[in-house]
Symmetry: C2
DNA sequence: TAACATTTAATGTATGTACATATATTTTAA
DNA sequence: TTAAAATATATGTACATACATTAAATGTTA
């Protein structure tokens, strides 16, 4: 649906302003779908992002700082997020012996199993395949990368 | 910069998954720029969005529900956001006489003046003009609209 | 018209988030 | 070698947000 209709605004100052608004709106749209899907599993979309990052490194562990660099939404309090996941026993935290400032984080078996279960219900990406082609997806990806400079 | 480098992930499950992540990442990127610009003015990006909506209707007033429908991020507690703006005297609230459930909201002179001041510093849209062409912006807008179905 | 449903906005509560600051450890350089 | 700087993570605080619930006014219908 046209962004004009989605937010009931019939004209924009420029095509660039419209683009910024369109990206923000589409991001919220995607995020709310994901949040709803994750709700029954008891994790937020940010926690899901961290779990996926850790699964990508598994069976190795990575530092909190390293997690932050890989997050979609680079936030200042990754440690609190990690602590929440630890309380749910989805990850493990060990103080690094080589550098005692660092904390090594690793996904647990329980964490991997949760991701497996989520996977089957995670249809926000599949949703996109019904409306645009892979070629079109590639075009947007290329232009967004260019846009950020 | 390529999204792969931005979040240190060298490959994605599909072009569609990459797209979803790219949109979320770009949205955060845009939002953090806007937030930083607005900080000295003492308003959040959501409050800025509401002010702009009200300016678009000025000198008429619209209901809280109507504001919500026009917001980029349709949140459930628009009334609290409106109350924050009222405390800063940037908007006015009057209970509608025709339908006493409804609250009519209108931007004040002070609110409009704030928007004028913000305008000169609001360069997040201008930022985009340096990296992509108007034609390219149009392409992304069209595809994002198509994507959401 | 009385009872029930719907609409509009506000609020309670728990959790999330940003930002500044603190603490511990390691690195650098005088 | 020791003081200062840098790094990695954690925490305090104020504010934001999601979601469910409440409250008041209006609409609908038996």
């Amino acid at each position: 649906m046209k962004i004009e209709k989605e937010i009931k605004q019939d004209k924009f100052h420029s095509e660039y302003q419209k683009l910024a608004i369109n990206i923000l709106f589409t991001s919220n749209w995607l995020n709310s779908t994901t949040t709803k899907t994750l709700k029954p599993f008891g994790i937020s979309s940010q926690q899901y992002n961290v779990l996926r990052i850790l699964k990508g490194q598994s069976p190795n562990s990575i530092s909190v700082n390293n997690i932050m660099e890989r997050m979609i939404d680079k936030m200042s309090n990754t440690s609190r997020l990690v602590e929440k996941l630890r309380q749910k026993e989805l990850i493990e935290r060990v103080i690094c012996e080589k550098d005692r400032r660092q904390v090594d984080v690793k996904i647990t078996k329980k964490g991997i199993e949760l991701l497996e279960k989520v996977k089957t219900e995670m249809n926000s990406f599949n949703l996109l395949t019904e409306t645009i082609s892979e070629k079109e997806a590639k075009i947007i990806n290329k232009l967004l990368d260019k846009m950020r400079g």
